[in-house]
C-alpha cells in the first residue's frame, strides 16, 4: 500500500523491459509478448500437481489483456508421456482480465494432473517437466513455450 502511494506521488510506473517492479520479483524465465513482460517460475509441487508462478507487467500506456485461463500447460511424466494439465480452480475464479498500463500483477496457479484432482481416481506418475505457452497469457500468437524441469524441493506450494 505504501509503495503504491509513493509510486502515485512520484509518478512512477513499470519501465518496459526492466522486469523490475516495487511489488513483484519477476523470478524465473522471462519473455516479452505484445504489451506484456512476463516471468514464469515453477515452484515446489503441490499435492494436486505442479505450481507455476506468473509475474507480468504492462509495457504499454494502455490496458492489456491477461488471460491465465488461455495458457496451455503440458506435463511430461517419467515415462515421457505428455499430459494436458488444467488449472485447479474449484471456485471458478480464473477469468480473462485487463492489466492497466504501466502496471504489474502476479498469480500462482496449481495445475491438476487428472488422476490427482480430488474426487478423481489416483494416478501415480509424477510430472517431471512442465511446459506453458506464455504467449497465450497475453492473448498473442504464435505460441511461446517455456519449459521447466522438476523443482529442486518439494513439500507444497507457498
Amino acid at each position: 500500500m505504501r509503495v503504491a502511494l509513493v509510486c502515485v506521488l512520484v509518478g512512477c510506473g513499470y519501465q518496459p523491459g526492466s522486469f523490475a517492479h516495487a511489488s513483484h520479483d519477476f523470478v524465473g524465465q522471462r519473455v516479452t509478448v505484445g504489451c506484456l513482460d512476463i516471468a514464469v517460475e515453477r515452484r515446489a509441487d503441490h499435492a494436486i500437481g505442479p505450481v507455476l508462478g506468473y509475474q507480468f507487467a504492462n509495457r504499454c500506456d494502455r490496458a492489456a489483456p491477461v488471460d491465465l485461463a488461455a495458457v496451455a500447460v503440458i506435463g511430461r511424466d517419467a515415462q515421457g508421456a505428455d499430459v494436458a494439465l488444467r488449472p485447479y480452480d474449484p471456485r471458478g475464479e480464473i477469468h480473462p482480465a485487463a492489466l492497466d498500463g504501466r502496471s504489474a500483477g502476479a498469480e500462482a496457479v496449481v495445475y491438476g494432473v487428472p488422476g490427482r484432482i480430488p474426487g478423481h481416481a489416483t494416478r501415480a506418475a509424477p510430472i517431471r517437466e512442465v511446459c506453458a505457452d506464455a504467449a497465450a497469457l497475453g492473448d498473442a500468437a504464435p505460441p511461446h513455450w517455456l519449459c521447466f524441469g522438476a523443482p529442486r524441493a518439494t513439500g507444497g506450494a507457498r
Binding site: 509510486c7 502515485v8 506521488l9 512520484v10 509518478g11 512512477c12 510506473g13 503441490h46 505450481v51 504499454c60 500506456d61 494502455r62 490496458a63 491477461v66 491465465l68 488449472p87 485447479y88 480452480d89 474449484p90 471456485r91 475464479e93 480464473i94 477469468h95 482480465a97 485487463a98 492489466l99 492497466d100 498500463g101 504501466r102 502496471s103 504489474a104 500483477g105 502476479a106 498469480e107 500462482a108 496457479v109 496449481v110 506450494a157 507457498r158
Partner: protein
Amino acid sequence: MKPAIAIAAALAALAAPARLAHAGCAGSGGSGGSASSGGFSDRSWHLHPTCKDTSDVVGLRRCIRFAAWAKNLEYPQIIIEGGALIRQFPTLLEHQIGSVTHGAESFRYHVVQATGAAHRIDTAMLSSLRGSVALSHAVYGGLEVDLGSVVPSGTTATEMASSGTFGSPDLRQDHGLLLDSLGVVGVRAPLGPGGVAVEFAGGLRAVSYNFRSSYHDCHATTSVTALGAVAEARARGELWLGPWLTAGVMLGTSVLERAWMGGIYLGVHTRSFGGDR
C-alpha cells in the same frame, strides 16, 4: 475522510470569529449575516486483518481474490485533485448588517462603499480539493471544495447605527475566510502529452468577513457572513507527470457577474494516462 474534516473545520472556522474576544473585554464580540457553528468528533479506527492465507495460489487462497491487480479497471476512473486558486469577485459584503459587543454595550453597523471607490472586488487565495468521476470516456463530474483567505481591500467602510457611553466603535476590516462548495461537470480530450478540458462549476459561496473593533480601551473581533451563488465556465490544460499523476492549470470566468479565477493543481488518477492512450 479528509474532505469531511476540511468541511467541518471550515464550518467551525467560519463560526469561530464570532466567538473571539480580546482579553479583559468580557462578553465582547459580535456577528452578522448567517454564521453557524460546526464541529466534529475525533474517532480512532483500527484495522485488524481478519483473513490470513497460507498460500498465494489460486484456489488455495481465500483472502485475496483472483485478478486483484485488475481491480482499478473495473470501476469508473476517479480523479483526486488538489491545488491553489486565486479568485476575484464582486464583494458579498455590501449592505450587510452586523453587530459588535463591547462589555455590556452592543452596537449595530452596516457596511457601505467607501466614498469615491469603484465597485468593490474581493480577492481570495484558496486551497482547492476536488474529486471527480469519469461518467464516460470524455465526460466527467465531481465535487470541489475551495477554502482560503479573503484579502481586505481597504475600500470598505462601516456606519454605526448606534453609539454608546464613549461614542461608537472603530471598525477595520481584517482577513476573511471563504468557502466554495461546488459541483463540476466537464468534457475532456487528450492532447499530446496531456489533455485539455472545458467545464462548468456551480454551487454556493460562503464568506466570513472579519472586522477588528476598537471601543475606548476595549478590542474585539466581529464578523459578517454572507452567502452567494457561483456559476462559472472554466478551461483546463494538464500534463502527465507519470502514469497516474498530472499537473495542470485552469482559468475561469463567472457567467453571473464580473469575476474570474485561475489556479494550478496536481491530480491523481486511478487509471494510467486516464485511459486515453
